[in-house]
Symmetry: C2
Subunit: 376 residues, 2 copies
């Protein structure tokens, strides 16, 4: 193997694929990157057995071949090199790297030991705009939570139907749902309902959220693939291939309330600030109270703890329905509000023990359901 | 006690003094700030028993008094308030805080429990420019190291003599020395040699490094005080009072070599980059080799580890004296280089086992002595 490539190109690729190579002690081969050649492309691959990433870039391939090299070491080393041509030459199981006045040999491993990243048939796919898709997912990706007893909810639920993507995440205390419309573009015939690991979605966001252009999503029974031709340099390509989570996602639609007994419309920033302040006084139970005062057209926010003191503030609100007092874990309220981009939010309440629903004002595509703390 | 003050003013003061209030479990009173009044000033004080900080700001004092309040809680809460007038009212041991639509009570403690921060007689002092002084100290503050067996070297050595400040720090593997000239301004009659705790110097840098203007340094047998009238708002004042470390500082001048067998002049950025690269291959001993090649007018930088591979790069150098090969702990070399601001550095070597000396080219006020790893 003999490859010539510019430092800034391979640096970019390594920084994308390195995150997936794990720090596995039981399977140290996963800490590595597989460097290989495909026609006139240099290819980098990493996997943690759940997710695999392939990255290609045009390069000068003087001799084909492949080698497996510690990915973190290679990234750190390449980062320090000047932006000049780098020569990668395989000698035995070692990789010689020559660049400017640097001349270095890294011990490698045999490519046979490296796990195979599955290939996915390229039959049906949909195209989504990178930024729209990632922005939508970032509104709920952090709600999912690792669970060994209920592996379904450690992933995000996706439903692909015609030109609409519906996605949801829950940790059983709160739930987010986001719909992303492809606006009639490239509708698919079949309907796909699947559960994608949270880590996969985090990587998709991490890699694609800042990139112009579109990605293609390919479906298969047990795997999903996100593939993009980068627009800024069409000589570069990325694939993320992930296993799906088996099982049935909870029928979450059932718990989204259709009605409310009280509806509040609040300035989001003020609400966030007051919840953060109240949180300081909420003690170990993280409990804050909302006291709806429709006569005063405001909502009081209250918290107290024996050790710390008492907190009270008030926020102006448009109010429909009944006055009530309701308790929430402030973290759950805050997470929902921080996922909302609009300047105003509605909060629908259903008595002091039914679920509350946060929605951005002027945006029908997002909702966040949060359970109150039952009054004792 | 009843005080009116603008949010941004007290926020600034709290962010300065809060860092010193410790997270002490054995003496929880130290986690607090003492709020008091002095004529038309609000005063905040914190201490960890080693360092004390006082901060004053003009405020509207409607009723005198003092109270002790958890400092972290108060800072976090004040940070979230709008930039409006805040009313602090003491009621019993509690502090009521009113601001805009916030109305809160924090449980406080009795001022009698709060440790007394010593006062220092204001006889002899010198004035230094904040930025010059802090920039100088930042070049060696991180070299000092906590040591229970040799408490002297857990502080920085200072010698104040006429218009010259000489300061040094060591951890016994390396040593930094910096001289700061007051250029004939305000020379003092007596000579003071003292050891100031590293933490104190870090706080002085933290608080004063970005501030225009000057600070005064006051001397007393067991304490030192740094005091500043801020120029941007002359209605604000800060004092840092610190205990000194007892004992005799090592006679460090003895170990600074007066001669060299080999002298290198190197581009600093390139040298740093190549050391960082070599470090990746240096294994657990952190050992890198410099091989001086005067015929080639360059220095090779080498490292290797059985697990990782071999590293070699070369850097152009002006070379005086003998060729040699010498080993260093890369961290110690790097720390010295990162403290140097000039674009070129000299490295004086004394055979393969004598101390090396780094100096900025064109700056006589700084030197950094580093011991090599003895060749085995």
């Amino acid at each position: 193997m003999k490859i010539l490539i510019l430092q800034e190109k391979i640096k970019k690729g390594l920084s994308i694929i390195e995150r997936i190579s794990s720090k596995s002690l039981t399977l140290p081969i996963l800490n590595n990157v597989l460097i290989s050649t495909e026609k006139s492309f240099l290819k980098l691959s990493t996997t943690d057995l759940e997710i695999g990433i392939n990255w290609w870039s045009l390069a000068k391939i003087e001799k084909e071949g492949e080698i497996v090299i510690p990915s973190k070491l290679l990234l750190n080393f390449i980062n320090l090199l000047p932006n000049k041509k780098i020569n990668f030459i395989k000698k035995g199981d070692d990789l010689n790297i020559e660049c400017d006045n640097y001349n270095t040999k890294i011990k490698g491993f045999s490519p046979e030991e490296f796990p195979i990243i599955p290939k996915i048939g390229k039959e049906e796919f949909i195209s989504v705009k990178n930024m729209d898709f990632c922005k939508g997912l970032s509104q709920l990706v952090d709600i999912a939570t690792p669970s060994t007893t209920r592996p379904e909810i450690s992933g995000l639920y996706f439903n692909f139907k015609k030109d609409l993507i519906t996605t949801a995440a829950t940790d059983s205390f709160r739930l987010g749902e986001k719909t992303i419309s492809l606006r009639g573009k490239g509708p698919i015939d079949k309907e796909y309902s699947l559960i994608i690991p949270q880590k996969t979605i985090k990587e998709v966001i991490n890699i694609f959220s800042e990139k112009e252009g579109e990605m293609k999503i390919y479906f298969s029974p047990n795997q999903i693939m996100f593939e993009s031709l980068m627009q800024e340099t069409i000589h570069e390509e990325i694939q993320i291939i992930s296993r799906l989570i088996e099982g049935e996602y909870p029928n979450y639609k059932e718990i989204i309330p259709k009605k409310f007994t009280t509806q509040l419309i609040l300035n989001k920033e003020d609400f966030i600030n007051q919840i953060k302040s109240a949180a300081l006084f909420s003690g170990k139970v993280s409990e804050i109270k909302l006291k709806v005062n429709s006569a005063g057209k405001e909502v009081d926010i209250l918290s107290q703890s024996i050790d710390i003191g008492d907190y009270k503030s008030s926020i102006p609100s448009k109010i429909k329905g009944n006055d009530l007092t309701i308790s929430f874990n402030y973290r759950f309220l805050l997470d929902g509000l921080l996922n909302i981009k609009s300047s105003e939010v509605t909060l629908d309440l259903n008595g002091d023990s039914g679920p509350g629903v946060l929605r951005p004002v002027g945006d029908e595509t997002y909702l966040y359901v949060v359970m109150p703390i039952k009054s004792s």
